[in-house]
Amino acid sequence: MAANPYLSQNERKALESVCVGIAGAGGLGSNCAMHLVRAGVKRLVVADFDVVSESNLNRQFFFRDQIGMKKVDALKENLLRIEPTADISVSYAKLDAGSIRGVFEYCPIVVEAFDAVDAKAMFLSSLMGTGRRLVTASGLAGWGRSNEMRLRKMGEGLIAVGDGATAVGPDAAPVSPRVGIAAAMQANAVVSLILGVEP
């Protein structure tokens, strides 16, 4: 049975045909990828340079017995448990301005799921204007204030989600529900882009 049997054949075909890039496999990337595969997206390229640690388990789509694994390998394992026929390509690498276009060369849609500001800025300055649809997120720390999480369409090819302000830091921890809201909003935007409806 398909991961999402509730869709029409055309919707399923559309979701299966598009390769989606995920830059970062932490709180945003791992959860966004999980939502996408459950929705019916079957082709992902996921890039990350980190390994699963105990502190990730409060919000990331990993499990205790995966501590120490490369996040990309652990995520691929988990996604294939949802949809064994998914085509998940992984890149265990720290992306930079010189490599990011190559890694996501065949992805018309790429999700920005980094945690560091510099990495987010690098993603945007490297991929904006390349014709790809980009879905970025900023402002997801802490808890509460669900209604401040919003989606903005900017220009022709960019979608930004989050409150655009609340950074993770000493006064604002990354906690599963609010990180999860942002990741789900990113995934929802990707599905909408693929199915041709307003994100």
Binding site: K120, L124, S138, G139, A141, T166
Partner: protein, 66 residues
Amino acid sequence: MKITYQGKQVETSATTVAAFLSEAGVDCGRAIVECDGELYAPGSDLSQVALKPDAVLDVFKIAAGG
């Protein structure tokens, strides 16, 4: 002159997007800027982008966390 910034009308004497955002306390290296439908990546040189009367300016600030 009046412009629309983040959906609200504001008065400014700034003549470039960089000057306006500096007054507004926005770090252009950490923000996506859209001015009159044109999109600028973080770190773009906005000192060359003129701010015209009735301009529509939107900013999405980049914040750590992911």
